[in-house]
């Protein structure tokens, strides 16, 4: 059980280049999220998914696209990278227990450190 994994761990892009970040989870969770975290800041939600084939915008969706073709994978794409997108990107999945007494928890990946020059 690997939990949540992210690839790549590090990436350097030039302005205008594109790339895709992959998030995979093996816990059969319905909900998946992409966050970005800038130095000294909290996490800001980019996009999220409430199930296979669904996506929704978060707080800061501009410049990013996502896809959830398979339940276990959530992809984050940058079509034309900009220096303002230099950040650490975290993916998370969530188990949603609707019974009181069980824990509703988000599990995070190790992050992808992206630099856009």
């Amino acid at each position: 059980n690997a939990g949540v994994t992210q690839t790549p761990k590090f990436r350097v892009l030039k302005t205008g280049q594109s790339m895709t970040l992959l998030c995979a989870q093996d816990m059969n969770h319905e909900y998946m999220y992409w966050y970005r975290q800038d130095p000294g800041m909290g996490l800001r939600l980019i996009h999220y998914s409430v199930g296979e084939g669904t996506t929704a915008k978060g707080e800061v969706p501009d410049g990013y696209n996502v896809s959830r073709l398979k339940k276990q994978n959530f992809l984050l794409g940058l079509e034309s990278a900009a220096p303002s997108q230099t950040s650490v990107y975290f993916c998370a999945s969530r188990n949603l227990n609707r019974d009181r007494g069980l824990t509703d928890t988000q599990y995070f990946g190790p992050g992808t450190r992206l630099t856009v020059l």
Binding site: G42, V50, T105, P110, G111
Partner: protein, 112 residues
């Protein structure tokens, strides 16, 4: 979504008990309170969750008063390894399509 307010930073000496309070004045009936911990260069990890009164696990205790408008995370006898950012979140599984929101958290620095 219930908004949360917590101190930006706190300092503590090793071996002391640390209490971090979070305000959530507009918490809804179905909302529960969850705390996460984030070490540098890592993703946040779950610490504790509660709905009312007191919850305790091997890592921390969570105190929630009867009106549930605030909550306090208590870390007993902190060590240097407890230096991290702590996030308080409020949300409900009954509105699961609404994602939980992470604020800026409380940066705890433990001093030797």
């Amino acid at each position: 979504l219930a908004k949360t307010t917590q101190p930006i930073s706190m300092d503590s000496y090793e071996g002391q008990e640390v209490n971090i309070t979070c305000s959530h004045n507009n918490i809804a009936t179905n909302d529960y309170i969850t705390w996460y911990q984030q070490f540098p260069s890592q993703g946040p990890r779950f610490i504790i969750q509660g709905y009312k009164t007191k919850v305790t696990n091997e890592v921390a205790s969570l105190f929630i008063p009867a009106d549930r408008k605030s909550s306090t995370l208590s870390l007993p006898r902190v060590s240097l390894s407890d230096t991290a950012v702590y996030y308080c979140l409020v949300g409900s599984t009954y509105s699961g399509n609404t994602p939980l929101v992470f604020g800026k958290g409380t940066r705890l620095s433990v001093i030797a």
